[in-house]
């Protein structure tokens, strides 16, 4: 497949068996080397886990993973949201900002299973996403898991075509950037008040983390759902007609 992209190559045909043998042997050597390194790895340097445990009271949350993600190494999460936003900007179509965010159209066919899933599962998943977001402070859970559940709900609602989401509308653009924007606003405000980027004061840390996580959840959910919809071939110019043609 995709051989036509190879415009320049005009040489002799490489023997595929030989190249496979070479690649297999060299990767086997790499595997052997890595396993040898693993066996010799002592693993007693401790990492930075103890420091996290010592400072967990200052972070405002009790789940250490959430503390690392949104307090101790908040730069990572900030840049990750930026990367996600860049990917969404790269794959989204750039037209049709006039169509509203959600449209309800009459689906040409009704699949009973998917309709039932939409009616019963989707609200439950929404509630569960909210629970995961709230529980992320003290238990496993948090913004990413809740955002992924939101995206899953969006994908589910997309299946029958009875709801159409326009990810390039003004509302969707605002929702896409709200996570990153809230992160940056909190960081800048902390520079003004506390003199340091993303160094939360201990009294407000839990509240600020929850605020950032809530906005990030919405952004991550919409972003992942828009990544899915970018792979479905639907243009938003005339929704009903385009849907009948199918993807």
């Amino acid at each position: 497949m995709f051989n036509k992209i190879d415009l320049e190559y005009d040489g002799a045909v490489v023997d595929p068996k030989t190249s496979r043998l070479i690649a297999g042997l060299s990767i086997m050597g790499l595997l052997f080397f890595l396993i040898l390194m693993l066996l010799n790895h002592s693993g007693d340097n401790g990492g930075i886990g103890p420091y996290v445990d010592q400072n967990i009271n200052l972070s405002g949350v009790t789940n250490p993973v959430t503390a690392v993600l949104l307090n101790f190494r908040a730069y990572d999460t900030l840049l990750e949201l930026a990367v996600l936003l860049i990917v969404v900007v790269a794959v989204l179509p750039s037209h049709n900002s006039q169509v509203p965010l959600v449209q309800r159209i009459v689906a040409p066919e009704h699949n009973l299973v998917i309709l039932a899933l939409q009616r019963w599962i989707a609200p439950a998943v929404l509630v569960f996403a909210g629970y995961l977001l709230w529980a992320g402070a003290s238990q496993p859970g948090g913004a990413f898991q809740a955002g992924a559940l939101l995206a899953g709900t969006c994908v589910l609602m997309f299946q029958t075509g009875s709801y159409r989401v326009n990810y390039t509308s003004i509302m969707a653009r605002h929702l896409l950037v709200v996570g990153l924007a809230m992160f940056v606003i909190v960081g800048l405000a902390l520079i003004y008040f506390a003199g340091n980027l993303l160094n939360y004061p201990a009294n407000y840390a839990g509240l600020l983390i929850l605020l950032i996580e809530g906005c990030a959840t919405v952004s991550i959910g919409i972003a992942l759902a828009s990544l899915y919809s970018s792979l479905i071939d639907l243009s938003f110019s005339d929704p009903a007609d385009n849907y009948r043609q199918g993807p």
Binding site: M1, R20, V52, D76, L231
Partner: protein, 99 residues
């Protein structure tokens, strides 16, 4: 032989399989899948090392893996979009060699 060592060796094995797939597989979608397999291997290695380093679990690699999972999904979406675009441009009649 403890479980952490087993998991980390499996992580390295997944990485090697993914690397082999990236080198040998001919279809672009297989290459994308192979990159994802490499990612899963690296995540498994990180998580196993986080458990292995001490009695308590180190949360920093977990946070890195959480970040990495989202970034891997975003990168996969970008690669698949490029693949679909390339497929549209280069025609659909080419056969897929069974690699």
């Amino acid at each position: 032989m403890n479980a952490e060592l087993l998991y980390s060796i499996t992580g390295v094995g997944l990485f090697a399989i993914g690397l082999l797939g990236v080198v040998l597989a001919s279809h672009i979608m297989r290459k994308v899948l192979a990159l994802n397999v490499m990612g899963v291997g690296i995540f498994m290695l990180l998580i196993a090392l986080a458990k292995r380093s001490e009695s308590a679990v180190d949360p920093v690699p977990h946070a890195m893996v959480l970040t990495g999972i989202v970034i891997a999904a975003a990168g996969t979406a970008l690669a698949l979009n490029l693949m679909v675009r390339l497929h549209k441009m280069s025609g659909s009649k080419q056969e897929e060699p069974s690699g």
